[in-house]
């Protein structure tokens, strides 16, 4: 189904309303089952949602599957969203990530390496010289990471979860989470340096 004008019109004709009210109206209508409102909501948030999926996926097909599962979860749980507790973007991203993790647990064998303090690298090398890299290139770098590394890196570095929370979400120990992050960081640095040299 191509990107429909219906939802685009639904979104843009409601521009007379402030952004928050517009979103709230679409959320309210979507939770009632209005297909046009759901579509409009999807069209508005599909980019950030899909970016999240791409960061966790091996390929675009996987990202599509993640987004599909996430959409089902978001619209299923939409009535639980409370605007007083936070923004819809944050809430939907959280639901999306939970759906992705559930999908990974179900269909992917995620292997996590144990933490080795001797391997700990305390360097805090910055991204100097890499400002020119775009989101697409960075996603490619992340996609090159093993699934375990990638998942923990995303949860910690991008979503901002703590190791304790990540451990609970993934069913691993905190030390394992730290190991994954450390390994991911090392690999990313290596890739960035390789890009800089080439």
């Amino acid at each position: 189904m191509p990107a429909g004008i219906t939802a685009a019109v639904v979104w843009h004709t409601s521009k007379i309303l402030p952004l928050e009210k517009r979103t709230q109206k679409l959320i309210r209508d979507s939770s009632r089952g209005d297909d046009d409102a759901r579509r409009a909501l999807y069209l508005h948030y599909r980019k950030p949602w899909y970016m999240t999926c791409l960061r966790y996926a091996d390929c675009k097909a996987d990202a599509d599957d993640f987004l599909q599962e996430g959409l089902i979860a978001i619209f299923r749980d939409l009535h639980q969203f409370d605007a007083r507790k936070g923004s819809f973007g944050a809430w939907s991203n959280r639901v999306l990530i939970n759906a992705i993790l559930q999908y990974l647990r179900k269909w992917k064998r995620v292997r996590f390496h144990e933490y080795d303090p001797a391997q700990a690298d305390r360097s805090t090398t910055g991204p100097a010289g890499f400002e020119g890299l775009g989101a697409r290139e960075l996603i490619r770098l992340i996609r090159n990471l093993p699934v375990g590394y990638r998942t923990v890196f995303n949860l910690f570095a991008i979503e901002g979860y703590r190791h304790k929370e990540i451990a609970e979400m993934l069913g691993i120990s905190e030390s394992t989470s730290k190991t994954q992050l450390h390994k991911a960081r090392q690999l990313l640095q290596q890739q960035l340096e390789h890009i800089l040299q080439s």
Binding site: A3, V9, K25, G160, L188
Partner: protein, 457 residues
């Protein structure tokens, strides 16, 4: 998390989202996910309405039973009720004609003569009360009342019987439980007055309007749909409604009425619009009602147009981004609903045969059909396109459930003893929108003439 590397990644991946094609998911994602979305909550609303409907149905049934119960007990000198007629078989104190002149034999040794035929021996309650004299008290005909009645005495006697009944011997105990409070006002009045209460006179012929009745009603004319969008747009809509139902009196002037109706709505439309799609801004170029319902995208075949109540399948035409489609449509939209109405009606006599009435009803309808006949012209960037005939199939339609409120007023006149004819006007408005978009809400309103025929029991 103050690691510059992490901050760099976070900034690039969450805040600076580029406008590009690679981060737009394919449309298959939406199509695959859509069937798994939860269904609209209409069914929940219907479930919530179910107890209310049951309650209304129960009330209607109760009122109907009460009416039948009261009608069975009612005794009128003009219309004696055979079930309440006292016959010698059930009246041991009634005199046998031709023997003892009012004194029944109590001696078992004396063989009783056979009674005459029951038809010849039936007497009314009034006659029975007169005949009893001081010999005994029959059961009081109404609860909690002192009763005074006078009737023509049998030959040779000129007698007035006064029968007093108390609440203790009333018929309250034999009434159904839902009707136990019915005699309370009369009892209070009796205690306060400490005097016999005279039974009201029988209903005048003209008052039979407040009795239970069946009615059929026709409402027709031109209403309108009113959209509350950027502009307040009104469009005419042809309205035909056939209704049948019943009325049950609940007070002297008030009656409860409920009915089932078939509603037909027809609306002609003619619209012309130009529209397109800009993938960068996601803006629909053009406007109007039609553009809000078009489905197509950049660089994809135009497979399906959706026009409010129909989907028009045109020939496959690829439309690069930014190009324009002109559409001209004309046609007729049809909707069919089956409605259930319930409400109250106030009726008052203005003469012996004429009654004025006013009523308030609410209704709930379920859409049973929707259709559209459309024809139009499609052109691409100003050039008319050669295309096959358009096929229309039901697509987006009006509300599945129609909730309405109706005010009515008019005058009715008795044609015969059982038939009456009424004419009046009604104002109907939908409580929920007939059509609903994200911003456009279309309501249904109509002020229409109506005629009805009623059969009174």
């Amino acid at each position: 998390m103050k690691d510059p590397l992490y901050q760099f990644f976070k900034k690039k991946l969450t805040r600076d989202i580029p406008d590009a094609d690679w981060n737009i998911p394919s449309d298959e994602v939406w199509d695959k996910a859509k069937p798994h979305f939860p269904a609209p909550r209409r069914h929940r609303r219907l479930l919530l309405l179910l107890p209310l409907l049951l309650l209304v149905s129960g009330a209607v049934l109760g009122l109907w039973i009460a009416q039948r119960h009261n009608a069975a007990r009612r005794t009128s000198p003009r219309h004696p009720n055979p079930r309440q007629a006292v016959t010698p078989a059930n009246s041991p104190i009634l005199s046998h004609p031709g023997k003892n002149d009012g004194q029944a034999s109590t001696d078992p040794m004396i063989p009783a003569k056979p009674y005459p035929k029951p038809e010849a021996n039936k007497v009314t309650r009034a006659a029975a009360l007169v005949a009893t004299g001081d010999q005994g008290e029959p059961k009081p005909p109404l609860a909690g009342r002192a009763l005074r009645t006078t009737a023509s005495p049998p030959a040779g006697r000129n007698h007035t019987a006064t029968v007093k009944a108390t609440a203790a011997t009333s018929r309250v105990a034999r009434r159904p439980y839902w009707n136990v409070l019915h005699p309370l006002p009369l009892l209070v009045r009796h205690i306060a007055a400490k005097a016999p209460v005279v039974i009201p006179a029988p209903a005048r012929p003209g008052r039979r309007h407040v009795r239970a009745e069946l009615y059929t009603r026709l409402t027709g004319g031109t209403g309108r749909t009113q959209s509350t969008a950027a502009q307040n747009m009104r469009m005419p809509i042809h309205w035909r409604e056939y209704e049948a139902g019943f009325r049950i009196p609940i007070r002297r002037h008030w009656a409860f009425q409920a009915g089932l109706s078939v509603l037909q709505l027809k609306q002609n439309f003619k619209t012309s619009t130009a529209t397109g799609y800009d993938p960068d801004t996601e803006l629909a170029i053009g406007g109007g009602m039609v553009s809000a319902r078009l489905h197509f995208g950049p660089k994809t075949p135009i497979g399906t147009y959706s026009l409010d109540a129909v989907v028009v399948h045109a020939a496959n035409i690829s439309m690069p981004a930014g190009e324009r489609i002109d559409l001209m449509f004309a046609g007729e939209r049809r909707l069919h609903y089956v409605n259930v109405h319930a409400g109250l009606r106030y009726s008052k006599a203005v003469s012996e045969r004429l009654h004025a009435f006013a009523g308030l009803e609410t209704g709930m309808g379920i859409r049973t059909g929707a259709g559209l006949t459309a024809h139009g012209q499609l052109s691409h960037n100003g050039e008319p396109m050669e295309m096959a005939a358009m096929h229309t199939t039901p697509g987006h339609t009006a509300a599945r459930y129609l909730y309405t409120v109706r005010l009515e007023t008019g005058i009715s006149g008795s044609l015969t003893r059982h038939l009456s004819l009424a004419a009046g006007a009604s104002y109907t408005r939908s409580l929920r929108p007939l059509y609903r978009d994200a911003e456009t809400i279309t309501h249904l309103t109509a002020i229409l003439p109506q005629v009805s025929v009623s059969y009174h029991f």
